[in-house]
Amino acid sequence: MKLKGDKLARNLLLASVVALGACATTAQSEQEQRLVFEAGHPSLQYWLLPDKPPYPKDNEPTAERIALGKQLFFDPRLSRDGNISCASCHNPMLGWSDGLPTGRGFRGALLGRASPTVINTAYNSIQMWDGRKKDLEDQAIGPMEASVEMNTDFDQMFRFLRNNEGYRTAFAKAYPGEEINKETIAKAIASYERTVISNDSPFDRWIKGDKSAMTEQQVRGFKVFVDPDKGNCEICHSAPNFTDNGFHNIGLASVDGGKGDPGRFAHKPIKILKGAFKTPTLRDITLTAPYFHDGSAKTLMEVVEHYVKGGEVKENLSPNIKPLHLTQQEKEDLVAFMEALTTDHEPVTLPKLPLK
């Protein structure tokens, strides 16, 4: 919009300043009244995830691609020592994470950050704690290439896969006419990961209209969650996947204002990103303790207490973080609400891995 000045505009300015005051008040109250906290209310439907996550044009999920991806995901033989699979750190029995504060990699190497859950990463527009991978295809080979993680010997791995009749057949069905290479491996794993979805939690069912899906306390917790003057959680843990796909320094002690792990800053050298990490989803959050990228919070109440304090270290703190004024009841309500975000999944079945 190109704008030019004139006297009329200057006169209008004075009148508008008065009008703006009135508008701001109206806008604020409109926002407060925008949400109606009743099961199934139209004002809340923006919290529902799309039924199917997006996928790249050249990798439409098919049954063959998903089945191959599942085998590769659970196959430790892709790692250099033949003993670490994707599922070692992204274990479906532990919420597709590992239950550790920070991961363990090649020959037990202690990794710097928590293993993020695979759950609903299909809906993310950017991957990894520091956003260095753009999508699941881009991410899938990363741990194999990392010397401290799977530390894959790619010549050895390609020999293994290309000489294995079961895998040769599976690749030919999934990606006919394409080679067994990093690209097709990544595409297959990504296709499988896109099936790891949480979208049928008590919260989802309540949003769809099932009044009994959440308790009164959980509904109160939802209000605290979205209220800008209470939890103010929604500004980062945004609908519908409880993440803004954004980066924030939340004032963790280990980050130390950015003097510790630089996080996103290592990839985008902008001051506000020192010590900033991607907002994780809260879906299935009860399955993925401990919390934060450094695994420093053991419970959801510890997480809430961290935000009530407004972070431990204030240096280079995200401006969106400020101390919260919550009663003990409101804190407990908030935790109860987060407990309503977990889907009661069917047990994961394990694939048969081709021996030859």
Binding site: L3, K4, G5, S16, A19, N245, F247, P269, I270, P319
Partner: protein, 107 residues
């Protein structure tokens, strides 16, 4: 946006533009986690003000070869301006929300 707000916006930018004889001033807003407009054609010497209209903080930066700047982060209702003094293409982003991206073509 209400009529009053539009008038206010026009008047405010007009005032700011009054000082520069030939250079124009443009406004880009950050609203619903997106820049608007997403592409802008301006001339060398023109200024662009970036206004945050979301209820949370945004950042504005560019690491383009042509123009590097970091306006920091600011809340709803606040703005900062940048004058573009060389011709070329500048990519402007929000560091906090990486899906926010716009292009300024300086002619």
């Amino acid at each position: 946006m209400t009529f009053d707000k539009i008038v206010f916006g026009i008047a405010l930018v007009a005032l700011l533009a009054a000082g520069a004889a030939n250079a124009a001033e443009y406004e880009v807003v950050q609203k619903n986690k997106a820049f608007s407009p997403k592409e802008l054609n301006i001339k060398v010497g023109d200024t662009v003000k970036f206004t945050n209209e979301d209820n949370f903080f945004h950042n504005v930066f560019s690491l383009s070869d042509l123009k590097t700047f970091d306006l920091g982060s600011y809340p709803k209702g606040e703005f900062k301006s940048v004058t573009f003094d060389k011709a070329g293409k500048v990519e402007v982003e929000c560091a906090i929300h990486p899906s926010m991206l716009m292009i300024i073509n300086v002619q």
